[in-house]
């Protein structure tokens, strides 16, 4: 009987720029159902953080409640973490980010945690352009409570009990674009080639980076008739472009034919290279992105890839004009500089 993972690893595991192997980014053994899409997303996060050579202590993972929100236990075991109240991860993340702007924030949520109970929090974090990578592991059902339809279940999608969903599904990516998000992407847990560079680009993006990841629930929503099953998603997926993430100070090594690729420079000078671009696609055009999402939805297709990206933005700290130093490191003498400083300020305002 095994609930334990052997500690032996491949003796020749590659090391990243910090000298760590992938093992250093792993977490505890997952207790989710075997074959859960969420585990695959965890794997992609581990790989992305390994490849970006993030120092684990420089990253904080935050989550709410649900199968998706359990996953931070299963990756980045050496990083900071906060498992918050149902749907309240965005406010905890906002507080954490304001207190220490030096960390990389990774929010992990589900369709229930974001589109149902947490919708109010989600939209406000978004419109404030909080500097966070916000991943929704979207399976269209409440897996932890035995698979009821969630708010992102598509209209007409058949659940495991054989009943078609009568309600319209919320398109979180469309909503994010509408509300002014600066990085909006959609992917599929079963497409790591796309997901890994996408997570890397999202983490490099300064501002709210939203990734809606379709993540089949093998136990409750992988049946025929479901629009979030492995088979359905694979058959209906349509990519805007393939994504490459090129870290700062590296060079683009792959050239693509004119008009089939586009390079976007992020604020930290790293690059996002999109290739195999769909005809007439421009991810920096918000209106076009919105229209494309609608069109593909009308065709019954699932549009994936980086859908909208506005690289040069002002995040919450910029908007609030906070000091560059993390607030949690300010000492009492910084915050209360004393009577002399007060006198000086008063003097300046007389």
């Amino acid at each position: 009987m095994t609930y334990l993972r052997p500690k032996f690893r491949h003796p020749e595991l590659p090391r990243n720029a910090r000298g760590y192997t992938r093992q250093y980014y792993e977490g505890a053994l997952s207790t989710l159902c075997a074959g859960c899409g969420h585990d695959s997303i965890s794997g992609a996060i581990i790989q992305a953080c390994f490849e970006m050579a993030i120092e684990p202590h420089r990253l904080a993972k935050l989550s709410g409640i649900g199968c998706s929100s359990k996953t931070p236990t299963y990756f980045l075991g050496n990083s900071h973490g906060f498992n918050s109240v149902h749907g309240r991860m965005p406010s905890v993340a906002t507080g954490a980010n304001l207190a220490n702007r030096d960390l990389i924030y990774l929010g992990v949520s589900g369709d229930g945690d974001t589109a149902s109970i947490g919708m109010g929090q989600f939209v406000h974090a978004l419109r404030r352009n909080l500097n966070i990578t916000y991943i929704v592991m979207n399976n269209g059902c409440y897996g932890l409570t035995k698979g009821q339809d969630s708010a992102t279940a598509d209209e007409g999608s058949v659940n495991k009990a054989g009943i078609a969903n009568p309600f319209q599904g919320i398109d979180l990516a469309g909503l994010a674009i509408e509300l002014g998000a600066t990085f909006v992407a959609r992917s599929f847990s079963g497409d790591r080639e796309q997901l890994i560079p996408m997570i890397k680009a999202a983490m490099a993006h300064e501002g709210f980076a939203f990734i809606d990841v379709l993540s089949p629930c093998v136990t409750f929503n992988n049946n025929p008739g479901s629009t979030k099953s492995y088979d359905f998603v694979r058959q209906h997926i349509e990519a805007t472009a393939a994504v490459d993430y090129i870290p700062e100070k590296s060079e683009i090594t792959t050239e693509y034919e004119e008009g089939t690729s586009k390079v976007i420079r992020l604020h930290d000078d790293s690059l996002v290279q999109l290739h195999k671009l769909a005809l007439g696609w421009d991810p920096s055009d918000r209106g076009l992105a919105f229209a494309r999402l609608h069109e593909s939805r009308a065709r019954g297709e699932i549009l994936t890839g980086i859908i909208y990206l506005e690289p040069q933005t002002r995040d919450l700290h910029n908007m609030l004009n906070t000091v560059a130093q993390p607030l949690n490191t300010l000492r009492e003498e910084d915050l209360c500089p004393g009577i002399a400083a007060l006198e000086q300020i008063n003097e300046e305002n007389r």
Binding site: T2, R5, P6, P14, A34, S40, G43, V218
Partner: protein
Amino acid sequence: MKPTNINDPEYFHKVVDCQYACPAHTPVPEYIRLIAAERYTEAYMVNWESNVFPGVLGRTCDRPCEPACRRGRVEEKPVAICRLKRVAADNKGEVRHLMPQVPFPSNGKKIALIGGGPASLTVARDLAPLGYEIHLYDDQRKGGGMMRSQIPAFRLPESVLDEEVNYILDLGIHTHFNRYVQSMGEVLAQDYDAIFVGTGAPRGGDLPKLPGRQEGAANIHIGIEWLASVAFEHTSKIGKKVIVLGGGNTAMDCCRTSMRLGGESVTVVVRSPFSDMKASPWEIEDAQREGIVIRNCMPPKEFVVEGGRLKGILFEHVEAVYDENGRRSLVPTGEPDEFIEADDVLVAIGQENAFPWIERDLGIEFGKWEMPVVDPVTFQSTNPRVFFGGDAAFGPKNVITAVAHGHQAAISIDQYCHKKDLHERPAPAVNLFHQKMGIHEWMYDSYVVEDPRYKVPHADNTVALKDRRFEVELGFAPETGFMEAQRCLNCDVQTVFTESLCIECDACVDICPTSCITFTHNGEENDLRTRLNAPANLLSQDLYVSHQLPTHRVMIKDENVCLHCGLCAERCPTAAWDMKKYLYQVTKTCKVWDAAGSVLETV
């Protein structure tokens, strides 16, 4: 790459590295699991069926399995396979009733076995139950061949050897001991249907041209001859200062035996560097533990004899120089020659085959180095009635190789006697057993322990060196044996992939501790090996490639460091991965023990 054909019995056989490396292909993980289950008797029988001398080999085997052990690739040391075999032999219950029972109805055929060593005895065991009348000739007074004459009793107690030799002789073998066969022509003239030659490599190397060899002859002994004369109690003493020339296992046995017969200052001198020594590392270690000094890069120049008596040897100092082809030459360093005193010298510089008793006009063709021309598959010589095996066939190897030869020669002899084509070899017997019992439960103990290799306890030198018969290795106690058995990775429990069930959820990729599994687009092997989740640089380890999946990718598993922990199969939501126990058995002339029977009961 083409999809892997897992129906080829050799594919999964190769994954069981230890079994694949074993010349006799003993199902190692199977008997190790039986040991862990305290089913020592069955563990012994699984061995006995395959390698005939579990007690002997559990002490003296050259262990080709251990360097191959997968455990040695994920951590420092392999499983102590050899010494676990001894645990089975030491703790077994009654086994005779499990072996073929005499008398066997005669099949009217008569076989002569020349030489009573492991190869001949294996042929005897495999043919006797079929009703062959078997006559075994040996010039010693007991059976066992080099296992008796060359392996000292402190490594292999006579009682252990006698027991296992007798299991075979008691199958109704007609023994002709103390009989040196002087003429193959005479044997051929008798009414034997076939003759098997298992006479070993009886001639020890010498240094006839080294100055002083003649004059000092009284105190210069040939290693294997000297060991035999100790074993048969013609020699019981040696001088206080002993030099052993040579760096093989015989040299190690010579020096350690000298320590027990009165040697006080025993020095092994090797002409080549340590790294080129032929002795097994553990034999070198054991010798050094007993206070034996080993010197290297010193070829002997002269036996120094004064007043008709050996005084010692003069050695030259050399260093090994390798040319661009890797060929070695020993070049003098220019240091002054060194004289080492000695009362006796043992020369253990290799062994040779010798067949002075085989006339050259009997249709038995001899080739290079006066070696018989022997078919490497059938072991038949150019005289169809005569077969060779063991060291006699292809030069000095080891016991387990001799046993493997014996099995194959027995098949050939049986086919020859029944006028069948010798090149139509029987296929191996293979079984794949489901192991699943529940979501997280397997019929085998899939948990991978992290314990480093356990050490076999040794008797203290003060006791061990007093008596040449005192067994110096004490063997694993059952408890330690269990812990060591748990280190086995169960490489025979195979990861079997069914692509039609796979939904490509990546669960197996994520859970695999050693990053063995990759889903990617197919390509040539060289290219694929660079595109996997972890480096696949060990080319001797196969890639398991599936048929194409719905996403046009293939599943590729690098077998190299798979821990056989079963997590891929536990994580697989559709049972596309399954763990199946693979039992591969070399087919023998007759079934003396059905390992598959014990496997079915193993839980």
